[in-house]
């Protein structure tokens, strides 16, 4: 009877459950494992590498080689989709007397001009060109009006305060979602201003929202150099004063993510010829 199938099944289950380790049926999680601790000393940085980073490849003698601009237009290849508004007129559940009271709140995630120019495309260098030294100015301040963030896309400079305003009649809040910086979640009553500082450049633009009015969103790119542009309502952009050399630009849009990871541009002591960058509409679908 003791070797009947029922008892043998019971025995199997009893043996299998602890993984055959009859010696120590520990509470699980390997709490009684033999653990060793080894020591890693404080890292010693290697000497500054002479390798050029992926973002820039300037030729020697950068300052004397002259500068030039990189400009162009970003166009949509295909018919732009007509996006429904984020909030219809009079349809806001929060603060209906102010938000979407006069006009519906548009969906700004894909803004295309009648000529096919895509707005709010970021064109930027992944890191500052080696050997470049310059000063950065304050960036465009952020504002909030009629429950919309203005501008929809902006550039902030590392370690330079970004001014944020609430010119609206209702309280808003700004919560940022950066990758490498600390996020903030600050309340901003009507008519107030505040400043925030990003300490590190970010590899891509990140979103920021208002939690009270959840359709409100804007995008920020943090860089430590001035070689960045956002396309205007016609899709046009211009990055002036690039030192001569070879560069690889990143081109990014909030719907498509990275449109171009390493768009090659060469500046030879003068302005580069304006480019026309065309991207398929399928890349902007979600």
């Amino acid at each position: 009877m003791l070797v009947s199938p029922r008892y043998l099944w019971l025995l199997t289950v009893a043996l299998v459950l602890p993984g055959c380790d009859l010696a120590r049926l520990d509470p699980g999680g390997g709490a009684f494992s033999d653990v060793t601790v080894s020591v890693r000393p404080v890292a010693v940085a290697k000497a500054d590498s002479p390798e050029t980073p992926t973002g820039a490849d300037p030729s020697p003698g950068v300052p004397s080689g002259g500068t030039g601009s990189f400009s162009g237009v970003v166009l949509l290849n295909g018919t732009a989709p007509v996006l429904p508004p984020r909030v219809g007129k009079g349809a806001s559940k929060v603060d209906p007397t102010v938000c979407a009271a006069e006009d519906a709140i548009p969906d700004e995630s894909l803004v295309v001009s009648p000529t096919g120019g895509i707005a709010n495309v970021f064109i930027y260098l992944d890191r500052k060109p080696s050997g470049w030294k310059g000063t950065l100015e304050n960036s465009v301040p952020l504002d909030q009006l009629a429950c919309i963030f203005k501008p929809h896309s902006l550039v902030a400079f590392a370690n330079i305060p970004l001014l944020m305003k609430n010119s609206d009649k209702v309280a808003h809040n700004v919560q940022t979602f950066p990758s490498l910086n600390s996020s903030i979640n600050a309340s901003m009553p009507a008519g107030t201003t505040m400043e925030t500082v990003f300490k590190k450049p970010e590899p891509k633009p990140f979103a920021a929202k208002c939690q009270i009015h959840p359709w409100m969103e804007y995008w920020t790119l943090v860089v430590d150099h001035p070689f960045v542009a956002i396309t205007d309502s016609e899709g046009k952009f211009s990055i002036p004063s690039l030192p001569s050399g070879k560069y690889k630009f990143r081109i990014w849009h909030e719907r498509a993510d990275l449109l171009e990871r390493a768009y090659a541009v060469e500046i030879k002591g003068g302005d580069a010829a304006p480019v026309e960058l065309k991207f398929d509409v399928a890349r902007f679908s979600r």
Partner: protein, 432 residues
């Protein structure tokens, strides 16, 4: 009969004998990189933090690994005999620990004459890399880390997971989900916005639990064990943050997404360049940032302290608090609802799925930074997850709750206004 026995033997053999060792997991961001890039990340993480069976105490981190001063007595091939210099508890064991050269003191001198220990304790320690000379001052490192790991694996791993990712075996059945440490964000802290939790904050959470959630109180653990768990949790959080700091700069160039990937040979070359020229700088910067961020949490200047003592509760203060709650300046009612039931208009909106801007969620409601639906507190229930002391409620209002939509009102409300709100919040469960 023989067939049955044979079948069972096969089952037992197939299951394998012995325990499978625990392993740290990689974050979802890392798993989106190309395979070769993942290997680079995995290698660096293992060098800096080790595995759950062989931990690495990286001395660049602001973690109290547990150091005991010792002096080398004898050196053999692969082990060294050391004499402990400072007194240790009766339950101290050097099992699994390593020795490291004692860092020079701040003045730059290395102490010459060791003080005589009260009881001479000779311990044999395995030595793998560095060579030690007889009479050299060393430190026996890792006691708290080793103990913390054992305690964590006993008490915490089933919910919080081996890597502290909040995804242990029990986690899928819990709402709210256990904390994912890997962002370094913890909800109920005494520190100001953008600052990590202090050791005291984590100690409180472990000791008192989080009422209203599945996090129990571990008050029955001895204080020294709780402290060791706190160090291990901090260490896991730093590991998660370190992974992010290494991986985020790699995402654009080394993604596994075939559309954006460069040709295989070019990618291999780029990865080699990254590993040799970029990675050491990233490692050093990341270590420095972790050290600064987590040390700042212990700085008293970053603790949120009320500027004035609490306004005594009474009808006037509660009425002022109620007006602020419903008013335009703080807009508490937009999330917490007019009666404080946690059903304000913001909870009815269909928000974007976190991480996928523009993609609307199927269910209405607010999200936290970890991607879970989160409900504003129902204040009528008299449950305060972060602690029910007046200073705890003050801190929630002043600095918000990190990782959640609960904002920081410290710069827009005065101290008196926050105390009025605290008094009103305390009164909500008792006035309906």
């Amino acid at each position: 009969m023989t067939r049955t026995l044979l079948l069972y033997s096969l089952i037992l053999l197939a299951c394998g004998c012995g325990r499978r060792p625990a392993q740290f997991s990689l974050s979802s961001a890392t798993l989106e990189l190309s395979d070769a890039a993942q290997d680079v990340v995995r290698e660096e993480l293992t060098a800096a933090f080790g595995t759950p069976e062989s931990l690495v105490a990286w001395q660049a981190l602001p973690v109290d690994f547990g150091t005991v001063d010792a002096v080398v007595e004898n050196v053999a091939d692969s082990s060294a005999e050391v004499k402990l210099l400072s007194a240790v508890g009766s339950d101290f064991t050097a099992r699994g620990l390593s020795i490291a050269p004692k860092p020079a003191t701040e003045s730059g001198d290395v102490e010459t004459a060791p003080t005589e220990p009260s009881a001479a304790t000779l311990i044999t320690v395995p030595v793998t890399e560095a060579t030690f000379k007889q009479g050299e001052q060393v430190a026996l490192v890792g006691e708290h880390l080793r103990n913390g790991r054992a305690l964590y694996h006993r008490h915490c791993v089933h919910c919080h997971g081996v890597s502290g990712d909040g995804n242990g075996p029990t986690a899928q059945y819990l709402t709210p989900r256990p904390r994912d440490y890997r962002r370094g964000l913890f909800k109920f802290t005494s520190t100001t916005v953008s600052v990590r939790p202090s050791r005291d904050d984590l100690h409180r959470v472990i000791k008192y639990g989080v009422p209203g959630t599945y996090m129990p109180s571990f008050m029955l653990l001895p204080e020294n064990e709780t402290r060791e768990i706190v160090e291990y949790v901090r260490w896991l959080a730093m590991r998660g943050e370190y992974e992010t700091k290494i991986v985020v700069p790699m995402q654009s160039d080394f993604t596994g997404n075939p559309e954006n990937r460069t040709a295989a040979s070019e990618a291999a070359e780029a990865l080699k360049v990254f590993r040799e020229s970029d990675l050491p700088g990233l490692v050093e910067t990341a270590a420095q940032e972790l050290s600064d961020d987590w040390s700042a949490a212990e700085d008293e200047g970053n603790t949120v302290l009320p500027k004035s003592s609490r306004t005594p509760s009474g009808p006037e203060s509660i009425d002022r608090g109620r007006k602020l709650f419903l008013g335009e300046k703080a807009k508490c009612a937009s999330c917490h609802g007019e009666l404080g039931r946690g059903n304000g208009p913001s909870t009815e909106a269909f928000n974007d799925v976190p991480g996928k801007p523009g993609v609307k969620s199927d269910v209405p409601g607010l999200f936290d930074i970890w991607g879970n639906i989160i409900k504003p507190r129902n204040l009528t229930q008299d449950v305060f997850r972060g602690g029910r002391r007046p200073v705890d409620v003050y801190r929630r209002i002043h600095s918000g709750i990190k990782g959640t939509p609960m904002q920081a009102f410290g710069s827009t409300l005065t101290d008196e206004e926050i105390w009025d709100l605290v008094n009103y919040v305390y009164s909500i469960p008792h006035t309906r």
